[in-house]
């Protein structure tokens, strides 16, 4: 609800300068994609895979309708000239920074590294794996490989808001750690690694501790070649998820 509120706030701040696509970008896009488009919670728009082979009309569709099944909301307040200027500004970002170099490495071997490292114990690809951590079904399309690399070796650098770790201690002294599903002044709901929900009234708990670190262990020690191959494998994951509507998918937008 808090996120929804913030998004609402940001979306009402539409362009104050109709001549500036950059102002529209800052008002509507920068919260997730960064002030200069380098990415953050949302993917980098400089290295975005989406800039390849998609028309202005496709970009407008994405902006106005959002991408179902992802965190990209619909900005249906944008229209006409404002939308044209915004698309032009996003196009200009592509030339301003890092070029989108293809991820090198052996993706086939990377898939073996993924299996060997038991990534599926927490992550899902398609219908296989666990829902404890974020789904990776379309991670190659959603995040820059630099962001993914950082997430593997330094998972605490950016913890998505839906995957914050919480440790609770019950009145009986039982200690449990899980991913916060929901929380309010009086109660907290966790997703536990065994797949169950942990549902608590705070008045029944001795303590609630918010983990500063990600619940994902760091793979800093992974051999460099294995890591590169794993990145190459993850880069191939552009799979559609059921929630992405067919019309969007038909346009090649995943």
């Amino acid at each position: 609800m808090h996120r929804a509120l913030l998004l609402l706030f940001v979306s009402v701040l539409s362009a104050q300068d109709p001549n500036s696509g950059k102002a529209i970008f800052r008002s509507n896009c920068a919260f997730c994609h960064g002030v200069t488009g380098v990415g953050g919670r949302g993917p980098s728009l400089i290295t975005a895979k989406i800039s390849q082979g998609t028309s202005d009309a496709d970009l407008k569709t994405i902006i106005r309708k959002g991408i179902a099944g992802t965190s990209m909301p619909a900005f249906d307040n944008l229209e006409g000239d404002d939308l044209d200027r915004l698309v032009a500004d996003i196009r200009s970002l592509a030339g301003s920074g890092v070029s989108d170099t293809p991820v090198t490495g052996d993706a086939k071997h990377g898939a073996e590294v993924y299996a060997r490292s038991a990534c599926g114990a927490c992550h899902r690809v398609g219908n296989a794996g666990s829902d404890y951590g974020p789904a990776l079904t379309r991670i190659g399309g959603a995040r820059s490989s630099e962001y993914i690399r950082q997430s593997i070796v330094e998972p605490s650098a950016d913890i998505p808001p839906d995957y914050e770790g919480v440790t609770i201690v019950t009145a009986q002294g039982q200690k449990l750690t899980g991913v916060r599903v929901n929380e309010d002044t009086f109660s907290i709901q966790l997703r536990l690694q065994n797949g169950r929900f942990g549902l608590f009234k705070k008045s029944d708990l001795k303590s609630v501790t918010y983990e500063k670190k990600s619940l994902m262990p760091s793979y800093e020690e992974m051999a460099a070649t294995d890591l590169q191959d794993l990145l190459a494998y993850l880069d191939t994951l552009r799979g559609s998820v059921a929630a992405i509507d067919d019309a969007t998918r038909a346009k090649g937008i995943h």
Binding site: D17, S27, T185
Partner: protein
């Protein structure tokens, strides 16, 4: 208690003495002083644990309803968004009439929020999202008259507040602080709807205060008035908070103090003439409207009885002023703030460096929504404490030179929530004589709901996750709660019908009313 129909006619004299009618809720704030307190104690610290839903009325309007009902001799008058008004049997929630404003076709509103009504004689008064003021027949909901506050221009003026009736006039203000309006407070003749006076909250060149605006920036200077004022019948002064200057976060185009933005103005209700003003945040750059309730308290100040006006301001300071003269008496921060080193002896802030919005962004506490906001505070006559919701949140403020285009937002910036720290909230009990916190209760999220205080030793308020809660007014202990299923964005009220005490709180599309079991 038998109620005659003539008993449902509200006179100016009844409004002056609203606090003596503990069974009713005759004005938006409950009375002219804005203390949001009732001398009712059937529901108290001992039995509040048994409080339960008595009735639910569905307005049919989705979303969050910021309205506060009136209760007049057993009849509840309540609004919902998009210009809807209803009269209900306050004892059962049964509908007596329902009115829906029909704007000219094709009007898209900047906001459809409505915060409630005022009553005088046989009329109730409300504003519409396209800034008209309506008088409705309190018995039927029929339109008696309609007056336009500002000509319709898409995306510019709008109105949300509950009107304030003073004597024979209906006083309202205009919204549009993010749309480059020039703000005003209007008074209309309650019988005819004819405009009696207008006070421009932003003076032009040549007028007193006009030199506090660079060039012609006052023409788009903001200073909206989107919350109801308070009134002192003895001093014959009405007190109104004025909102932010425009563009909100970019000040170079409007250099100067930008009077009367972010100020409290004391007006003569008969003429609209300014008696005094006090500016909390000169040349504001953070959207810190001074729309928080200007609450009127008569207290012993430094040992002498004094007529005070107090406000927990959006800029995170709690202020005490003399309400006869506007003299600054005290200002103390009530939460974290990073923008001012303090206030000087006139109450003017001494600024911190690096607190202005910049193209690269500066992180400032409180955030854009402020440490306090429009939600009703309350004052308990027994505990002598001031209760109010506190928002603990910071923002990164960006600036961007704006170009004014009529009908487009005029922010001069973008802000975003700071991502390094979650917001949270407090219900706080403050001693208004010292600014000291007596207790607080922590909420998981920063709240948008106001408070109600009662002689039953209780404070009621709501949180952002939908809990309506009752607290011990002396200790802050949570004594009762119920999750209403929607974020709470109004303030609870209390009243009696046939001698029984009720508590009402809007939640989402519903008007919820609570009582003890019979």
């Amino acid at each position: 208690m038998a109620v005659s129909l003539s008993g449902q006619i509200v006179t100016a004299d009844r409004l002056n003495n609203a606090l003596k009618e503990q069974q009713n809720w005759l004005t938006y704030w409950g009375d002219y002083t804005g203390i949001h307190h009732r001398d009712l104690k059937q529901i108290n610290t001992e039995n509040v644990k048994n409080l339960r839903v008595e009735w639910i009325y569905q307005t049919g309007e989705a979303g969050s309803n910021e309205t506060t009902p009136l209760v007049v001799d057993g009849v509840m008058y309540v609004t919902a968004g998009r210009g809807i008004a209803m009269a209900l049997d306050a004892q059962t929630g049964r509908e007596l009439w329902r009115y829906k404003y029909a704007p000219p076709v094709g009007r898209n509103f900047v906001s459809s929020v409505n915060r409630g009504m005022a009553i005088l004689g046989s009329n109730v008064y409300m504003v519409t999202p396209d800034s008209n003021l309506l008088a409705l027949d309190a018995k039927t909901g029929r339109v008696v008259w309609q007056s336009e506050m500002a000509p319709w221009v898409p995306g510019v003026h709008y109105a949300t507040l509950a009107p304030l009736v003073v004597k024979d006039k209906v006083i309202v203000g205009i919204s549009g602080g993010e749309q480059g309006v020039r703000g005003f407070i209007d008074a209309y003749d309650a019988a005819s709807g004819k405009r009696a006076w207008r006070f421009w909250t932003v003076p032009l060149k040549g007028e007193p205060g006009g030199d506090t605006w660079l060039g012609d920036s006052a023409q788009r200077g903001g200073g909206p008035v989107w919350m109801t004022g308070t009134y002192d019948p003895k001093l014959n002064l009405t007190y109104w908070g004025v909102g932010n200057p425009g563009p909100d976060l970019y000040g170079d185009v409007r250099k100067g103090d930008n009077l009367y933005s972010c100020s409290l103005v004391a007006l003569d209700p008969d003429t609209g003439k300014l008696t005094w003003h006090f500016q909390f945040t000169p040349h504001d750059l953070h959207d810190w409207d001074a729309e928080e309730t200007p609450m009127l308290l008569d207290l012993d100040w430094r040992g002498k009885p004094r007529k005070l006006v107090v406000q927990a301001n959006r800029n995170a300071f709690f202020y005490v002023l003399d309400r006869e003269t506007g003299e600054f008496l005290m200002g103390k921060p009530f939460e974290r703030q990073t923008w001012a080193k303090g206030l000087d002896d006139k109450g003017r802030p001494i600024l911190q460096p690096n607190a202005e919005p910049t193209p690269e962004g500066n992180r400032v506490c409180p955030g854009l929504a402020g440490g306090a906001n429009w939600m009703a505070p309350s004052y308990n006559l027994d505990t002598k404490l001031f209760y109010f919701p506190v928002r603990e949140a910071c923002d990164v403020f960006y600036s961007e030179p704006p170009v004014y285009v009529a009908g487009k937002p005029y922010w001069g910036s973008v802000f975003r929530g700071a991502t390094d720290e979650k917001e949270w909230g407090l219900l706080k009990a403050l001693d208004p004589l010292t600014g000291e916190t007596k207790w607080d209760f922590r909420y998981y999220r920063a709240p948008w709901a106001g408070t109600l205080s009662t002689a039953g030793g209780l404070v009621f308020s709501g949180d952002e996750d939908g809990y309506l809660m009752a607290f011990d007014a002396r200790t802050g202990k949570n004594l009762w709660k119920l999750n209403t299923g929607n974020r709470l964005v109004s303030a609870p009220i209390s009243y009696l019908v046939n001698g029984k005490q009720y508590i009402t709180m809007p939640s989402g599309g519903a008007i919820l009313t609570f009582a003890l079991p019979d």
